[in-house]
Amino acid sequence: MSVTMTTRQVGDVTVIDAAGRITLGEGSSAFRDTIKDLVTKGDKKVLLNLSEVSYIDSSGIGELVSGFTTLSNAGGRLKLLGLTKRVQDLLQITKLYTVFEVFDDEAAGLASFS
């Protein structure tokens, strides 16, 4: 199974509900395309819900970083929600906890953009 990305709007924040695996190939390109579409539309506050993402490889991590940079360069922000233990471990190992704002609770994540 690859990844599915579903976007929904909550106020001025776009929440992306991701499910599946973000890995080299289809999974990472799906995420890249979703971020590009949002930036094109001018949506700059993005909360990425990873609670249903079972697996991310280094290419997937690279896409998260790329999405973060793309949105930051456009004056926006990419924040993360609902990390599984496995994804938390990956962010620790790669020191990306120092880069991303991470939330367990969607309401807190949404409020952080205000």
Binding site: L24, D57, S58, G62, V65, T94, K95
Partner: protein, 144 residues
């Protein structure tokens, strides 16, 4: 169920495609399961094997259809040894930027080796004869 510690070896010769990454992953997880590794350890082995296979297919063999990836799985008492060889031009680790350096944190790539080392107990590499790179990774059963 108690682990079986008979010496077991499985070898696969794989094409330089992303499908081979899935094949190697599945073979490694099945092998690890068969010799008694926990689900957590199987996930770690899966992660390391996928990263190593991507390196071999994409960076080593550069998706060249004439080049193969050589996967060897060996179980010895308490230990799984994964060896993955490509037929590429080899690589110099000193030329790989440190992915944990502050200036590299936002780079899109370069974390594969870091993850392989993080998820396995040992990970080293050497030139492969006659050509390419040979990566050897070891995972030990936690009770050993």
């Amino acid at each position: 169920m108690a682990a079986s510690f008979e010496q077991e070896i499985q070898e696969l010769v794989l094409d330089s495609t992303l499908e081979s990454v899935d094949q190697a992953d599945a073979a490694s997880v099945n092998f690890a399961n068969k010799v008694g590794f926990s689900e957590d350890d199987q996930n770690s082995i899966s992660m390391a094997v996928r990263e190593c296979m991507v390196n071999a297919v994409a960076h080593g063999n550069k998706y060249n259809a004439r080049k193969k990836v050589h996967l060897k799985l060996e179980a010895t008492p308490g230990t799984l040894i994964v060896t993955i060889g490509d037929e590429g031009d080899g690589f110099n680790e000193n030329e790989v930027p440190d992915p944990l350096a502050q200036e590299n944190l936002l780079k899109q790539s370069g974390r594969g080796l870091l993850l392989m080392r993080a998820f396995m107990d040992e990970c080293d590499h050497a030139p492969r004869v006659p050509q390419g790179t040979l990566v050897r990774m070891v995972k030990r059963l936690s009770e050993f």
